[in-house]
Every structure is written in structure tokens, then in C-alpha cells.
């Protein structure tokens, strides 16, 4: 039985380590958490194997055979030595794991040893994120997250309405966005690319669609992006937050595509929540646009997009993101308004 248990444990651990559990590892914090997971697998599998093995062998060796219907087992009431062992060994193992967990936690939350750290202010609202930068005294807001590779960044997270949770699975870290307080964590990205930003705390009807993108750029590209943001902000007016991140929208935006898929700057798809016959969307979170926009002028439509709280359709929640003014470029907004006015006549 012992041999069976050892072999099964080794196989179990091998399988546990071979499974590709995690998403892409995008931060130095992720390295330590993933290693910690491996240690947990190594410690856990033998316990499960122990229980299953004892049950299986007991069933094999001690099951009632014909003729034993009235037989009882030996009246063993306990064994103090054994009970001390199975109290003390797990306790020591658990204290060991807690110590290791404490060291890892301390490590992944520590501020970088040298140099100033970039702080990005993250604000959650139903159902979108806004990111505020302060680059050398120049402040600007975007609807997409951009960070330079290899530099520690601290997120100050807050919320305008209910509790959200700011999570980038590739970075492994998450924290709730709580109204009234500021919560924080820090990561050091170590891999270029685009990763989903996910809201991990149920925040209402649009929770499942509260998704944006985190872009990790090399230092030079990030600096160029900052320059463009600073110019855009200095130039005034709402423009595309993501124009420099690749995939910026051209002036002659395809309004119907915009309606059904959103843009890369953080404007979520209108059709995710709204029904519009012409675009073939069937969302039911918000009002049916074929009905509520009928006979409305362009000014009303523009206001409804930029400032959705101004007038809320009866029977529907106050759930529409308020960032379309920032996330849509001027031409995009114009095109969308024109399109909606056309098709809802």
C-alpha cells in the first residue's frame, strides 16, 4: 500500500506540475506566485493520495465477504501515538506553508529598491475603467491602460459607484475598487503584449462586459505614447485615447462596426446592451434603440451617448458607461450619431 501511495503521489505531482494552469506570465509578481502554486501542488497531492489510497485498500481488504454478515471488526478505540502524529505533522506543514506564503506576499508587495515608481490612478465605474497618468507633471486620462515593460507601476484604485475589482490575469494581482477608499497594488511587467483587464467583482448587469486592454510597450514606444497623450490633452477636446497604441481609428469611421464591436480605446460595443435592427444586435440590458430613438434629433442622440445620465429611459437601470465622450474620437462620435439618426428614423 505504501508503495502504491508513493507511486501514485509521484504521478499525481507530475501531472499537477505538467498541467498548464496559469495564463501567460506577464509580471515578476507572477513568477513568484506560479512557483508558490507548484509548491502547493507538491504538498497537497500526497494528502489526497493518502486518503484515496487508504479508502481503496480498506474497500479491497476489509469489505464484507459472504458469511461475514454478523461479524464485527476488532474494538479498537484509538491510538494516542498515531493521533499525535496526524495532529502534529499537518500542523507543522501548514505553519511552514504560511511562513513561505508570508515571504512571497512580502516580496510581491515590496516597493522597488531604487528609482521613483510610476503611479497610475485607476477608477472603476459601471461598466468601465479610466486610467489617470501623471507623467513628469503632465496629467492626462485614458480609457486604455499603457505601461512600460520592466518598470514597477503602482495602481491607486478607486470606484465611483459600486465595488469593482481591478484584475489583469496575466499579472496575477487583483484588488477591489471600493467607493470611499483607495486600494493599491504594484506590478512589474516583464512581457510585451496586450492583456485583458477584467472586472472580478460582481458590479451589476454589465459586469461580464467590463473588459478593457492593458498594453505593455517597450520604454521608447511608451514615451512616444505619453507625448501624444500630452499633446492631445493640451490640444483640448475629446479625442481617441488609444490613437497611438496601434489600431487607431481613421476619420471616416465605420459607424456600424463601431456600434457592433466598439473601439480599441475603451468604447464598449453599443450592441452588447442595445437592440438595433439595422446592425443586427439583440442586447437587452439597455433600451431598444429602434424604439427609443424613433423621431429623435441628432442633438438628443449625441447627448445620450456622451452624457447617458441626462435622461434615462423608463424601466432601465442607470448602467451605461459615461466614458464614451473620452473613448470615441470626434469623427467617430459624429459618424455614430449620424448613423443612429439615419437608421432609427
Amino acid at each position: 500500500m505504501v508503495a502504491f501511495g508513493v507511486i501514485a503521489s509521484v504521478i499525481g505531482i507530475a501531472i499537477g506540475l505538467a498541467i498548464d494552469w496559469f495564463p501567460v506570465q506577464g509580471s515578476t509578481q507572477g513568477e513568484k506566485i506560479d512557483t508558490f502554486w507548484d509548491v502547493l501542488i507538491i504538498c497537497s497531492v500526497p494528502f489526497f493520495v493518502l486518503v484515496v489510497t487508504v479508502v481503496l485498500f480498506a474497500v479491497r481488504d476489509f469489505r464484507m465477504r459472504p458469511g461475514q454478515e454478523n461479524l464485527d471488526g476488532p474494538p479498537i478505540h484509538g491510538n494516542t501515538k498515531l493521533e499525535v502524529v496526524w495532529t502534529a505533522v499537518p500542523a507543522m506543514l501548514l505553519v511552514g506553508l504560511c511562513t513561505y506564503a508570508y515571504i512571497v506576499l512580502d516580496d510581491i508587495e515590496k516597493a522597488p529598491a531604487k528609482g521613483p515608481e510610476r503611479v497610475v490612478k485607476v477608477t472603476g465605474e459601471q461598466f468601465t475603467w479610466t486610467f489617470e497618468y501623471n507623467e513628469g507633471g503632465k496629467k492626462f486620462k485614458t480609457a486604455q491602460l499603457y505601461v512600460p515593460n520592466g518598470e514597477s507601476v503602482k495602481f491607486d484604485v478607486g470606484s465611483k459607484d459600486v465595488i469593482h475589482d481591478f484584475w489583469v490575469p496575466a499579472w496575477r494581482m487583483k484588488i477591489d475598487a471600493v467607493p470611499g477608499i483607495t486600494t493599491t497594488y504594484r506590478i512589474t511587467p516583464k512581457r510585451l503584449g496586450n492583456y485583458p483587464v477584467v472586472c472580478a467583482e460582481l458590479c451589476g448587469l454589465g459586469h461580464a462586459f467590463m473588459r478593457q486592454t492593458a498594453h505593455v510597450l517597450d520604454k521608447a514606444a511608451f514615451d512616444r505614447w505619453v507625448q501624444q497623450q500630452v499633446q492631445r490633452t493640451a490640444g483640448g477636446g475629446a479625442a481617441a485615447g488609444g490613437a497611438a497604441g496601434g489600431g487607431g481609428q481613421s476619420a471616416s469611421a465605420d459607424a456600424k462596426a463601431l456600434f457592433t464591436t466598439g473601439n480599441s480605446a475603451g468604447a464598449t460595443a453599443c450592441g452588447g446592451c442595445h437592440t438595433l435592427a439595422e446592425a443586427g444586435t439583440t442586447g437587452a440590458v439597455g433600451p431598444n434603440l429602434d424604439q427609443v430613438l424613433k423621431g429623435k434629433d441628432e442633438a438628443f442622440i449625441r447627448e445620450s451617448i456622451v452624457d447617458p445620465k441626462a435622461e434615462i429611459a423608463k424601466g432601465f437601470p442607470d448602467a451605461m458607461p459615461t466614458n464614451y465622450g473620452d473613448a470615441l474620437s470626434g469623427p467617430e462620435l459624429d459618424a455614430l450619431v449620424k448613423y443612429l439618426a439615419e437608421v432609427s428614423k
Partner: protein
């Protein structure tokens, strides 16, 4: 008719409910008029009517059906009708729909009602899995989906697991400790859960529903404590009590201490929601995290409320079916109490990513890990109980063994979640969903099935169908794992919970999970059929088909109205299997002959299907 309306019963209950509805409308209308608010354009728009009605209607129902008559008569100086227990026992199925003070009737009312909610909650899970079978939205919209998982959890926690344990214990416990009935008179009023008359939907329904469920939980728990402390049979010292009695004792301590906290948290929510008190409105100086602390201070101990009675059931089933004494009985009892104490020190492990003060995470991590030690003691003691026994591998035993392995897995993922660095990543993902279902399904529900099969002959006087029982076990075990095991993986990979839609990368696993969950749902139909058909037409059960030593098996199946024609005297431990001539209880010195009928190992062939 007017007599029917004046005497307690369904007619008067109906009348009082109507009166309460009128009162709810009138009160709301009058107060609004007095404050100069608009009166409602349509009465269905009126939230205040709904709230007052939610509180008034169930109370009116209970008053109408006669739960408080004794107190009203006493308060008004009229002659009370003394409780002569003439209403005890159930003679036809209709008797299960009347208030009753017989613990056995209440136990069955609780248990059957709870299983009804198991099917309701299970159907909701099927609907969710249907939606989640593919990415994108197919069957239900986001609003319905959010409602489904909220109600699924509330129904199964508050209306299934907690009350079904109370139901089984209500039936078995007094028999087990040699009491003629449960302790206090009021035990009857919890039997008709007011929740069963109002569909729980929406925040107010949940909030007020929790108040009623909480109040009935506390009443039941006090009742258990009183019964266990004061009504044990002569000779039944604490260390001669079956572990089920220990488990319910521990659980009741948890309920009495912890439940007021969830009542408080839900009152705060109700006052915030209905009257604008701003307890949790940060903009008006409220504190959002306070709700979570108060809520989890109850809801974590509640996890043990949903687990400890199951531990008790497993101890009973394993000892009897392995034909051996429970290994390390005293450590088993003390580890229950250790879990009660430690259970109050771990609540903030639900809040590692909530933004609370960072330092709290470390002590909460340590206590959470340490609570695995008494739980581990129980697992290892059960394993040692199996060793060298004579294992009767019938349905209750299979579910007990299934519990041992599946609950271990849930315990291991629990220790993983206790570790803060890992919890930061997997919090609010499907890893949590997997963990909670391994604990509550693989853990609690398996023990409930084990207990229902084990006591079915005692409760109904009939044997269940063993073949169907085995089919039920194997299909449940297989499809349970097929449903919930992959959730560990997609959780770590980054699929958040509580979403109606998800990234395409998770599509394959979700389809497999959905299909397995439908099969899991079908497997419970085997159980339902077995229970109903066997209750109606199963073979007659003998008094003690399992050759068990505990007192409930020493009376007829089903037991007589007052449980024991003679008060038993307890002379030994409850699990002395294999000790020659061992007896747990004797029925008075007048009939020593009965003593000889039950020693372990000498009884006649048990009655089997």
C-alpha cells in the same frame, strides 16, 4: 365557514394574510400621505408596500395557522389549551401540512421541504449551465443570469443545506439521546418556513427572507441546545453521546452566536435600501467594508454550520457500516469544538482582496490554515475507523466514502485559498466555485444523501431500493467530478465567476461542464424516484436493519409517537461494535430481556431488499 375562519388552520391563515396585505397597503398609503409624498399611481410600483407586506404577511400566516395561539390565550387571560401532545404523530400525508409539535413530523416536514428546494436550486444551476455552455448570450440575459446565481446560492444555503440538517437532526436527535421529544413547545413554529410561501426574488426578498430564516435557525439551534443539555436519558453523559449529537451541539453554538450578525447586516441593508440610512454609502460617510466584515463574521461560521452536522452523520454511518468503534472518539468530539472556536477567527480570508487593512491578512491566513488541523484529525480518524473493519458497502456507506475523498479535495483547495499570494490571483474566479462545490456538494450533500439513506428505514418504516441507491451514488460521484473538477483549471486560467459570458478560450471546458451538470441533475431524479416509490411501496423495515447500537434503532420503525415506551438508561458508549455483549442503552430494569436483543454481532440477519 365562520367557525373555520375563527379556528386556527389554513382558512384563518388565508384570511389573516389578506388582512395583512390590506394593512401593508393602508399603512404605506397613510404614512406617505402624512408626509405629503405622492400616493402611488399603481400599487405594484410601491416598494414600501412590498417591504411591509414581506414582513407582515408571513407573520400573519403563522398567527393565522395557529402557531401563537397558546401565547395569545395566555396573555389575554383566557384559559389556554394545554399542549397535551394529542396532535403528535402523522396519520396521513395531510398531517404533514399542519403545525405539529411532534419532532418526528417536524423533522420530515423540514427534510421533504428542503429537498423540494434542492430541486429548485438544482434547476437554476441547470439554467445557468445552459447559458454558459457557449460563449455569448443564448438563453437568459445578464439580469436574469445574475438573479439565477444569487437565488441558486441563497436557496441552497438557507433553504436546503441548513434546514435539511436541522430536519434530519430534528428527527433523529431526540431518539438518539433518549428524549421523549424536542425541548421547547415553540419548536413547531419553524416547521412552516414562511419562505416557502413567498418566492425569494430581489434584494428585499433576500433581506427579509434571511431575517425569517435566521430567526428560525436561532430558534432551532436553541431548541437543540436545550434538548441536548436538559433532556438526555439517564446515564447519557456527554462522552456517551453519539457524535451526531456532539456535531449538532457544536453547530447550534455556532448558529446562536453567529446568526445575529447576518441579521444585523441585512437590517442595515434594508434600512439603507428602504429608508436611506446610508450605513454603506461612502458618499454620505458610510463604510462599504463594514458590511463585508459583519456579513462574513456570520457567513464563514455558516460554512461550518453547513458542515459539522454532516461530520456527525458520517461518524454514525461509518461506525455502523464498518462494524468498529469510532477511532479516537474524544478527539473527534474535541475537534468539533476546536472548529467552532477557530471558525470565528477566520472570516476575513474572504476579504484578502477587498482592500481592508493589509496586516489582518496574515493572522487570518494562519488561523485559516490551522483550522485544517482539527478537520484533518477527523478525516484520519475516519480512515482509521475503516481499517480492519467489516465494511458493508451499501448506499449510505458509499456516500460516506465518497464524502471522505471529495471533501478532502475541497479541504485541500481550501488550504490553497488560505494562502494570500495565491488567493489574490484566484479570488472571484471559478477556482472558488470549484472549492465551494467540493465542500458543499462533495462534502455536505454527500453526507445528506448518506444520512437520508441511512435513516430512511427509521423515518418511513420502509427499505429503500439498494440497486437504485447504488446507481444514484455512482452517477452522482462521476458527474459531480466531471462538472466541478475542470472548474479548478479554468479558474486558475482566469475565468471570473458570476458572469453570463466569457472569453472564447474557455468555451471547450464550459461545454463539457454544462453537459456533465445536466447528467448530474438527471442523477438526482433516480434519488427522488427511489425515495417516493420506496416510501409508498418499499419492503417493510425491521426496527434495526443495520444492527446499530444507538438508541433510535432500538425502537420500532417508524418510532412510536412518544419515541420510547420506557425511558432508556444509557450504560455504555454509542459505538462499542466488536465488544462482546456491548449495549448502549437498556430500557428499564423491568424488561431485561430486551437488552439481550441488541448486542453487537449477535443479531439476526438484517432485513435487505
Amino acid at each position: 365557514m365562520s367557525v373555520k375562519l375563527r379556528n386556527p388552520g389554513w382558512y384563518r391563515a388565508g384570511l389573516y394574510v389578506v388582512l395583512a396585505a390590506v394593512l401593508a397597503f393602508g399603512l404605506s398609503w397613510a404614512v406617505r400621505a402624512a408626509y405629503g409624498h405622492d400616493t402611488y399611481a399603481h400599487f405594484l410600483d410601491a416598494e414600501s408596500i412590498v417591504i411591509i407586506g414581506m414582513i407582515a404577511l408571513p407573520l400573519a400566516f403563522l398567527v393565522g395557522i395557529g402557531c401563537f395561539d397558546y401565547w395569545f390565550y395566555w396573555a389575554s387571560g383566557r384559559p389556554t389549551r394545554p399542549e397535551d401532545h394529542s396532535g403528535h404523530g402523522a396519520h396521513s400525508w395531510r398531517d404533514y401540512f399542519r403545525p405539529n409539535t411532534d419532532h418526528k413530523v417536524i423533522g420530515i416536514q423540514y427534510t421533504v421541504t428542503s429537498f423540494f428546494f434542492l430541486f429548485v436550486g438544482g434547476l437554476m444551476a441547470m439554467l445557468m449551465r445552459a447559458e454558459l455552455a457557449q460563449p455569448g448570450r443564448q438563453f437568459v440575459d445578464a439580469s436574469t443570469f445574475n438573479g439565477l446565481f444569487s437565488v441558486h446560492a441563497s436557496v441552497l444555503i438557507f433553504l436546503f443545506i441548513i434546514p435539511v440538517f436541522a430536519g434530519l437532526a430534528n428527527f433523529v436527535l431526540p431518539l438518539m439521546i433518549g428524549a421523549p421529544d424536542m425541548g421547547s413547545f415553540a419548536s413547531g413554529w419553524t416547521a412552516y418556513a414562511p419562505l416557502s410561501t413567498t418566492a425569494p426574488d430581489g434584494q428585499v426578498f433576500f433581506t427579509i427572507g434571511v431575517q425569517f430564516a435566521g430567526a428560525s435557525s436561532i430558534a432551532t439551534a436553541l431548541n437543540f441546545l436545550v434538548t441536548i443539555i436538559t433532556m438526555r436519558a439517564p446515564g447519557m453523559s456527554f462522552f456517551r453521546m453519539p457524535l451526531l449529537a456532539w456535531a449538532n451541539f457544536s453547530t447550534s453554538l455556532l448558529v446562536v452566536i453567529a446568526t445575529p450578525f447576518i441579521a444585523a447586516s441585512q437590517f442595515f441593508v434594508l434600512l439603507d435600501w428602504a429608508l436611506g440610512f446610508n450605513f454603506f454609502n461612502a458618499a454620505k460617510g458610510g463604510d462599504v467594508l463594514m458590511y463585508q466584515h459583519v456579513f462574513w463574521f456570520y457567513s464563514h461560521p455558516a460554512v461550518y454550520i453547513m458542515m459539522l452536522p454532516g461530520f456527525g452523520i458520517i461518524s454514525e454511518v461509518l461506525a455502523v457500516k464498518a462494524r468498529k468503534p469510532i477511532f479516537g472518539y474524544r478527539m473527534m468530539a474535541f475537534s468539533l469544538l476546536a472548529i467552532v472556536v477557530l471558525g470565528f477567527t477566520v472570516w476575513a480570508h474572504h476579504m484578502f482582496v477587498s482592500g481592508m487593512q493589509a496586516w489582518i491578512r496574515i493572522p487570518m491566513m494562519v488561523t485559516t490554515a490551522i483550522i485544517a488541523v482539527p478537520t484533518g484529525i477527523k478525516i484520519f480518524s475516519w480512515l482509521a475507523t475503516l481499517w480492519r473493519g467489516v465494511l458493508h458497502l451499501d448506499t449510505p456507506m458509499l456516500f460516506a466514502l465518497g464524502f471522505l475523498t471529495m471533501f478532502t479535495l475541497g479541504g485541500i483547495s481550501g488550504v490553497m485559498l488560505a494562502m494570500v499570494p495565491l488567493d489574490i490571483h484566484v479570488s472571484d474566479t471559478y477556482f472558488i466555485v470549484a472549492h465551494i462545490h467540493y465542500v458543499l456538494f462533495g462534502g455536505s450533500l454527500f453526507t445528506i444523501f448518506a444520512g437520508v439513506y441511512y435513516w430512511f428505514p427509521k423515518m418511513t418504516g420502509r427499505m429503500y431500493d439498494e440497486r437504485l441507491g447504488r446507481i444514484h451514488f455512482w452517477s452522482t460521484l462521476i458527474f459531480f467530478n466531471a462538472t466541478f473538477a475542470p472548474m479548478h483549471l479554468i479558474g486558475v486560467q482566469g475565468m471570473p465567476r458570476r458572469v453570463a459570458d466569457y472569453a472564447d478560450q474557455f468555451a471547450g471546458w464550459n461545454l463539457a461542464i454544462s453537459l456533465a451538470s445536466f447528467a448530474l441533475g438527471l442523477s438526482t431524479l433516480v434519488f427522488a424516484y427511489n425515495m417516493i416509490a420506496s416510501w409508498r411501496g418499499g419492503a417493510r423495515a425491521s426496527a434495526n436493519p443495520w444492527r446499530a447500537l444507538t438508541l433510535e434503532w432500538q425502537v420500532s420503525s417508524p418510532p412510536p409517537v412518544f419515541n420510547f415506551d420506557q425511558v432508556p438508561t444509557v450504560v455504555g458508549g454509542p459505538y462499542e461494535y466488536g465488544v462482546p455483549g456491548a449495549v448502549h442503552g437498556i430500557f428499564g430494569p423491568a424488561k431485561p430481556a430486551e437488552v439481550k436483543a441488541t448486542p453487537a454481532g449477535t443479531h439476526a440477519e438484517p432485513v435487505r431488499e
